[in-house]
């Protein structure tokens, strides 16, 4: 018997499926059988299915809570249910509207919910300054603890200047 997928090699794997009394036989060679199996595994473990799975088991609060049909992004129309199904959000606004539900998931994926990396140069000016401010405050505490008062005074001036710049932005 010849493999019914490639029509070339001999069929060595035979499946019989009976659904509601209808018998369906499949005859495949090793290679095609493996391909089919891998494909079905890939489908199961695709990242989006996997994410949807995470959502379904991410604790009773998420699983049992019924989301009303109007749990929907006002900008792009994506529903939370749709996100659960496809693992993809519709637009940047979804992150704002689904925030409560997203945070536990994001933490589960990344172990964290706070970005510490690159900031866009053009639009991220204020974010950069806030981060700089945070750093300076830590340095100031350190200087005070070490009783390096001259350095602390310098840092305090820098902090005041940065605060002023942020207010002007």
């Amino acid at each position: 018997m010849i493999c019914q997928d490639c029509n070339q090699r001999a069929a060595t794997v035979h499946f019989t499926k009976i659904v509601q009394g209808v018998k369906n036989e499949t005859h495949l060679c090793d290679e095609c059988a493996r391909l089919r199996q891998n494909k079905s595994f890939d489908d199961v473990f695709s990242i989006h299915n996997f994410l949807a799975g995470l959502l379904d088991v991410s604790g009773d609060s998420v699983r049992k809570q019924e989301y009303p049909n109007n749990f929907i992004c006002s900008k792009c129309g994506t529903t939370y249910d749709y996100f659960k199904k496809v693992g993809r959000l519709g637009c940047n606004n979804c992150y704002i509207e689904f925030k409560e539900k997203m945070n536990p998931l994001v933490r589960k994926i990344h172990g964290n919910t706070l970005h510490t990396g690159k900031v866009p140069k053009r639009t991220g000016g204020i974010i950069k300054k806030r981060r700089e401010l945070q750093q300076l405050k830590l340095q100031l505490n350190d200087a005070i603890n070490k009783q390096e008062f001259e350095k602390a005074a310098e840092l305090r001036d820098k902090i005041n200047e940065l605060n002023r710049q942020i207010l002007d932005m």
């Binding site: 490639c6 070339q8 493996r34 391909l35 891998n38 494909k39 890939d42 990242i47 989006h48 994410l51 900008k75 792009c76 994506t78 496809v86 693992g87 993809r88 959000l89 519709g90 637009c91 940047n92 992150y95 997203m102 998931l105 994001v106 994926i109 990344h110 172990g111 964290n112 919910t113 706070l114 970005h115 510490t116 990396g117 690159k118 900031v119 866009p120 140069k121 053009r122 639009t123 991220g124 974010i127 806030r130």
Partner: protein, 341 residues
Amino acid sequence: MAKWLKEIGPHADIVVSTRVRLARNIEGFPFPHILNEEKAEELKKIVMESVISGNSTLQNHFNIISMKDISQIERLNYLEKYLVSPDLIRHSNIGSALINKEETISILINEEDHIRVQCLLPGLQLEKAWDLAQNIDDLIEEKINYSYEEELGYLTACPTNLGTGVRVSVMLHLPALSLTGHINGVLKASGQIGLAVRGIYGEGTDFLGHLYQISNQVTLGITEQEIISNISDVTMQIIQNERSARDKLLHHRKIELEDKVFRSYGILKNARVMSRSEAMQLISDIKLGINLGLIENNNMEILNELTALIQPGCLQKYYAMELSESDRDIKRAQLIREMLG
């Protein structure tokens, strides 16, 4: 032919290539999977203009390739050279790529995210690949507002890419660790420190030709430099382990190894029918033989090039014809014989 296939980079005895990828989206547009064709076209123009009319020296070096305008063989060919992704092909009605002439940079438009910047270099060149990606990122951002949020960083269609949007990966050839069974330890340890290990030619090709791809899983809460240094540290350790496994094989199992390498060489130079997986395995053996000095007068570049040329899309492009699977096996054997001389 792409630079990563044509040239030999640092640590080339083990590291085939380095890739850095950034995921970015543009404010005001829905993510690509719900984007209509008209909006997608508008978005494509915005990205193209930002790259082409940017003031960088890179601007003259890009070709624009719309997925809908090229054949399935061409798409497959770009995919096998890692210049486009399966997702871009799936979105072929709206997907495009800007690819530079050296084929080291590709900017994918309307893939899973609006923009995916990808840099691919031969050997281990993490910093250089990162610098390239970073320059393109800054260039695009000069004219575009990215979707960005203070806490979550760069916003992406899938939450697995949030934060930096950075995925760094290295492709490693690890025959000795595989042959000695030590590879399982590497896989386990990598998983434990948040790195993913995969085979490199996708579906059903796991670890074909002893090739492994290691990449970061986490993209949020960690800086780009931390991601790069993690991958770099782990890669250096794997390189050392692979080299020492190769030395041990050479000292304790030299005849067995020589036999394997020369048998593989004989088959590659003489076979008339060759499947992809067999070819990948045999080429892996020869590369190991060259690295250990068992075979002389051989060209590593040709073998690297072959690993791409024998893939279905590249093979059909090379012979400029559509080939059935059995015809491919025959042409593959022919091409290998010709190239090995």
